[in-house]
Each structure stands twice: as C-alpha cells, then as structure tokens.
C-alpha cells in the first residue's frame, strides 16, 4: 500500500510548509459527505494521530489514517494549473464515479 506525490506537488507542499513555519507534512484523507459519497481531505499536519500511516516521497511526509488509506491506495497527489486557478489534484485509481466538479467521489 502506498501513496505518492509528483515532484511538482512535493515542491509546492515543501514551499507551503516553509512559509507556514511549522508542520510535519501533509495529510491526505477521505471523509463521507459531498454530492457523490466521499470527499478528499488535504490538510497540514502538526501532530500524528493514532492509526496514522506515514509515507515519504520526494522528501515530503504524507500522512494518512488507515481507514482513508483503503480508499486512497495507489493515489498520486499532483499539482497543476487550470487557467488562473492552481492547486492540488488527487489521481486516485480507486475512483469509479465522481461528481461533476470532482470534489467528491465513489469507489
């Protein structure tokens, strides 16, 4: 089981952590809600919780709780631009269906 980052995503996370001045890494997760079942969580991590798995890729720690890992195994976090907008993208092979905007999904 693993989760990876693209180099672009890793660089952005590093840079955001640096300007924030604290934080162990970035948390990827899922939570129920949204228009199509599950929604992604993307947060800074200041301390680990019980049941957290820690991966490291391109020098960035990725923290995932075990329950979320089931839905995110094999996911690659990417960073991209769409017009003026830029942000992170989950390339999740487990997704079978997602809502129009892609903010929530089904496995």
């Amino acid at each position: 089981m693993a989760v990876t980052l693209t180099e672009a995503a890793a660089n952005r996370v590093q840079s955001f952590l640096h300007s924030r001045g604290k934080g162990l890494g970035v948390r990827l997760g899922v939570k129920t809600s949204g228009c199509s079942g599950l929604a992604y969580v993307l947060e800074f991590v200041d301390e680990l919780d019980d049941g957290d798995e820690v991966f490291e890729d391109h020098g960035v720690k990725v923290i995932i709780d075990r329950k979320s890992l089931v839905y995110l195994d094999g996911t690659q976090l990417d960073y991209g631009k769409e017009g003026l907008n830029e942000g992170f993208k989950f390339n999740n092979p487990n997704v079978k269906d997602q809502c129009g905007c892609g903010e929530s999904f089904k496995v």
Binding site: R12, V13, F16, S19, R20, V26, R27, G29, K31, S33, G34, C35, A39, Y40, V41, L42, E43, F44, V45, D46, G80, E82, G83, L84, N85, E86, G87, F88, K89, F90, Q98, C99, C101, G102, E103, S104
Partner: protein
C-alpha cells in the same frame, strides 16, 4: 477534477463549502487583490502575469476598459479616461470643485449632490468608476480561486469619513461583491508584517501612495491594534513627485504653464518613468514630445531629490505632529512599516529612517503589503482559521447599554471595547408579580436615556409572577465583527427569552460620534447629578410601594388611627418631595425621614411576625433546635 488547497489541521471544508475570500487594496493609483491559499497570502496576477491593476477606467462608446490599457490611453483620450477616482469617491460637488482645477475631467454641472463626469459612455459617478475596478479584481479572484467569493475585505485610508466608507461599500455592492469589512490601510499593513502576533508595542505606518499620504501610530495591546493617532494629506503622493518633475521638464523646455491636457499627460508619464528609473540608477535621460518640438535632457538623482525634498519634508512634519498627538517620541516606535509605491523612492526611505532613527520595514513589496494584510483578515473573517487566531481589530465607537428604572442608562459594553464582544448582566423586576419587561437598547456616553441615541426596543413577556427583585433576567449584548449588535433578554428560571438585532453605527457620521463624545464630557458633572436624582427618586418610589404594600396587609391590625394618619402624612411628604424636588440630597433626606417615622411600625411588624411564627411553640423548643444545629 477540482483543484484543492491545503487546509489547517482539522479545517478541511466539505465539498462546495470552501469559503473563498479575498483582500482588495483599492488604491488611488493602483489596485490589487490578494488571497490566502494553502496558508500563504499572495497577490493575484491577471492572465498576463501582472499583479498591479492601475486604478484607471476608460469609457468608450464600445465599452469599458480598466487597468493598464486604460492608463496607456490616458494621454490620447484624457476626458474619457478616469484615474485617481479615489480622490472623488464619497465627496460632494463642492469638495470636488476645489480639486477640479487639477483634474482634467469634464464634470457635469448640475444639482446632483454626487459629482458626475461626462464620458463617451454617458455620465458616470465616482462610485461607478470604482465599481469597475472592483469588478475586474473580483473576477480575477474568482477565476484564480475557481469559485464564487463569499466575501472581501477592502482597505480604506484611516482618515476616510463615513460618506467615503459608505461610497466604497456601495461601489463593492455595485460590483457584486459582499464586503466582510472595510479595514484601515495601516492596520492591514501591520497585519501583513505579522506585527499583530508579535510583542506589545507602538508601531508607525508610513504610507505614501500615488495620491495620498497617511501616517498612523498604532499600539498593539494583547493582539489588538488601537489607532493612537493618525494624520496625513489626502492630496500628497507620488503623483505630486511626478507633477514636480513634470513642472521641471516644462520649465527646462521653456513651455509655459498653459500646456494642453494631452501634453501634460505625456509629460507626466515621462516624469513618472524617470522617477522610477532613478530608484535604481544615478541618472536618466528624459525625452518628451511637446507642441513646441522635442525636448531632451538628463535628470540626476540629486536633482530629483532637490525637486521632491520639500514634499517629503512635509510628510516628515506630519509624522512629527502625529507622534505628538499620540504622545510618543520617535525612539518609542518599535517598527516603521513602509507602504505605498512611493516609498520605493530611496530619498523617502532615507528621510523617514532618519526621522524615526531606525531602518524602516521594506521586506514586503510596499505596493502589495496592504492587499496581503487585507487577504489575511478576509481569510479569518471567512472562518477559514481556527478560532483562537481570530483577529480583534475594531472597537465600538460608543457605549451600548439599556434603559433602567427612571430613564437611566446602564452600560453593558463600554466604548472602545474590541469587537467581537459579548457581555451579559442580570436585571430584575421592580414590582411584585411583574410579568413583562421592556428592554430599551441605547447608545451613547450620557447618564440619562433621553440624552443617548435610541437603537431598539423590545419586550420580554411571560416572566413567571414573583415578588419584586426575585426574577433573574439576563440581558446579553453581543457585537459581531461587522459591528452588528444582537441583544437577548432571558428569564433564567422559566427560560423565556426575546431578542433584537441592530446595526449601531448605521447612519452615524464620525462627526456625530465625536459630538456625542464631546457632549458626554461637557455634561459629565450635570449627568452625575441627574443620575443621582433619578436614583433617589426610584428609591423613594420603591420605599413608598413597599410601605403601601405593608399597610395594606397589616396596617389596620397594628396601627391605631392617629398613628396611621401620621404615617400617611409622612408618606405623602416623601411622594411630594420626590416629585417636586430637583435635589438628590433633599430626596435622600426625605427617604431617611420617612424611614425614621415608620421605625416603630417596622418594629411592630417584626414582633408580630415573630409572634406568628412562634405561636403554639415554647421558647425552649427553639433553643433545642438551635442546639441540634450546632451538633
């Protein structure tokens, strides 16, 4: 799929519930929009990568052009190209005509209170021109963030009056933006440097923009900025540097003052670029096309300094005055924050640094620092930050309170309390069996309700009947970050409640607030007297009511006719004194006298009460009870 940003721990929003917020620096010369993404505040660029949007709007028959393209066309189309509109916003026609000689626009002469400018696209008001700029920035933020903005924070100069602030809000509404709050520019700059998270101290914000100069002394106290003093010149800025340089160019070229508008624009553009080059180089060449022919010459930094020194000296004089107003000396200032593009001019940094005796803060781009602070504040107001990081930056200008018996004000939230705030106080009933209470919300510093401003009235009904003074009615005042007041009255035993929401500052200008404060100081002595008189009258009324209630219950039983007549007389005397006398001491003395007159009756009532309680018991029974308690 949607692009995500990294949230603070535990703050990831549910899908479609991200609250997008932006900070807008609506400047005289240039405007910017900034936002906080993945915890970092940054200004946003347009499709071409430009962050700064010149505050210039050009009206043509085919539509509206905003920004750099409009600025470039200013020289060719001066009448339809509106710049520095911030100088006009919220101003009346009379104010504008005093600026009018400097402004190359075609003002419509009319009876309207708002100045109107005639353009190729029809007549426009300064509010509409500002709205065009805000609309472009709002759209840029929405394109960048990929969603609707839930709200914006727009910065305004500290000295903006109520009309100018209101006009700025109107412009935002016209542009389809929801304004979380207007934020003072110096406060935004201090927030951008994180001074609000640092140690308590006094800071100076020196803001020399394109068209305005503003210096503020802020005191940070427990995370709250208090403006100690502010001063400035709403008609002094980098534009005046350009004007000075342009004047020099025209003089050197031998052109008289009466240059036409197009020429003046062209020379001003050249003057500005010469000034900007001299921020990094020691000298530059100037090349202008004039009606009299082409003129070329060179301008050195020393020459520039000589031209603008008198203007900078004016700002330093203002700094000295503002420090005096604040009652601090230059060496008490912890940090000097430089704001505004004109602080890039090296001579400005030099003279300001000399005056304050320390290196000014220039790390954050002085053009962007205000927008960045506004974005940080907008992010907090949108609720994207954990509660403890809430910034408390505003204070309520006048005390808020309620009316109590006799028309006195009881202040719940004193003036200068930082917002948001909630305060509660318990009140009680005045009469036996009272089941309703009128709550009258007032604003002001005076002791009597009649001298304060009435904000709202509501009634709390359904209080369970109890003896006077037994009911516990909690009145809670809460003022949110927008200054919206919410008042709730709740009877504690039954839980019945009633509430009202009001906007306390609505319709009050700064002058009116100042007037109200002034009145409270002038009348402080009278007010205290008036308050004491009312208090004594209320006390007299309470004594009379209590005595009447007692007489009704056992007066006939305990008093003979003569005694009753004496008491009735004494009672009447107090009623008369309380209603006719204007002297609190007299009323107080009358109350004392009545209390003395009915001492014997009170004693008799107590004895009779004890007799009743003890009837059918022996004295030693009580002694035994006491003894058992002691065990």
């Amino acid at each position: 799929m949607a692009l995500l940003q990294i949230a603070e721990p535990g703050q990831a929003a549910a899908p479609h519930q991200h609250r997008l917020a932006a900070g807008i620096d609506l400047g005289t010369t240039n405007s910017l929009v900034a936002t906080v993404r993945s915890g970092r505040a940054e200004t946003l660029a347009d499709g071409q990568g430009n962050h700064i949007l010149p505050s210039v709007v050009r009206y043509t028959a085919d539509g509206v052009v905003v920004g750099e393209a409009a600025r470039r066309s200013a020289a060719d189309d001066p009448l339809n190209t509106i710049s520095s509109v911030k100088r006009l916003i919220g101003r009346g026609v009379a104010d504008v005509s005093s600026l009018g000689s400097e402004l190359p626009y075609d003002f419509v002469r009319g009876e309207s209170a708002v100045p109107r400018i005639r353009t190729a696209a029809g007549e426009v008001t300064p509010i509409e021109v500002s709205a065009e700029i805000l609309r472009v920035l709002g759209r840029r933020a929405q394109d960048t963030l990929g969603g609707e903005l839930s709200g914006v924070v727009i910065t305004v100069p500290a000295y903006f009056d109520d009309a100018q602030r209101q006009a700025t809000k109107d412009a935002a509404r016209l542009a389809g933006l929801h304004v979380y709050r207007l934020l003072n520019e110096p406060t935004a700059a201090a927030v951008a440097y994180g001074l609000d998270r640092g140690a308590d101290g006094v800071h100076a914000i020196y803001d020399l923009g394109g068209g305005t100069f503003d210096v503020s002394v802020l005191r940070l106290h427990r995370g709250v900025f208090e403006v100690m003093a502010t001063g400035g010149d709403s008609a002094l800025g980098g534009d005046d540097f350009d004007m000075a340089v342009a004047g020099w160019i025209l003089e050197q070229a031998g052109v008289s003052r009466g240059a036409d508008r197009g020429t003046l624009r062209h020379v001003l553009d050249q003057a500005r670029s010469a000034k900007e080059i001299l921020a990094t180089q020691a000298s530059t060449t100037v090349d202008v096309e004039l009606p009299t022919g082409r003129w070329q010459g060179s301008l050195s930094r020393a020459q520039l300094d000589a031209l603008i020194d008198p203007l900078i000296r004016k700002t330093v004089h203002t700094c000295r005055r503002v420090l005096r107003d604040a009652g601090v000396s230059p060496d008490e200032i912890e940090d000097v924050v430089m704001v505004g593009g004109s602080t890039r001019t090296l001579r400005v940094r030099e003279m300001v640094g000399e005056f304050f005796g320390r290196e000014p803060l220039v790390d954050i781009d002085p053009d962007r620092v205000v927008a960045i602070g506004a974005a940080i504040q907008a992010d907090v107001l949108a609720g994207n930050k954990p509660g403890e990081e809430m910034l408390l930056l505003d204070v309520n200008p006048l005390s808020l309170g309620i009316e109590t018996m006799g028309g006195l004000t009881e202040k719940l939230i004193p003036r200068n309390t930082t917002l948001p705030v909630a305060r509660a106080q318990e009140f009680t009933t005045f009469k036996d069996g009272q089941t309703a209470m009128a709550v009258h919300v007032v604003q002001g510093e005076r002791e009597l309700v009649a001298d304060c401003r009435s904000l709202a009235r509501f009634e709390l009904r359904g209080i369970p009947p109890m003896v006077a003074g037994a009911a516990r009615i909690q009145v809670t005042f809460s003022v949110d970050a927008d200054g919206l007041l919410h008042v709730e009255a709740r009877e504690q035993t039954s839980g019945v409640s009633a509430s009202v929401a009001v906007k306390p500052s609505y319709g009050l200008t700064d002058d009116e607030i100042t007037g109200m404060l002034q009145a409270s100081i002038e009348h402080a002595q009278d007010d205290m007297q008036a308050r004491r008189l009312v208090e004594e009258r209320v006390e007299a009324q309470r004594v009379v009511e209590a005595l009447n209630a007692a007489l009704a219950s056992d007066g006939a039983e305990l008093l003979n006719t003569a005694e009753r007549a004496t008491l009735d007389q004494a009672l009447q005397r107090l009623v008369d004194t309380a209603s006719s006398s204007g002297d609190a001491d007299e009323v107080e003395a009358a109350i004392k006298r009545l209390e003395k007159d009915c001492e014997f009756y009170v004693e008799r009532r107590m004895n009779s009460g004890i007799r009743k309680a003890m009837a059918g018991h022996r004295v030693d029974e009580f002694a035994q009870e006491d003894g058992s308690k002691a065990d």
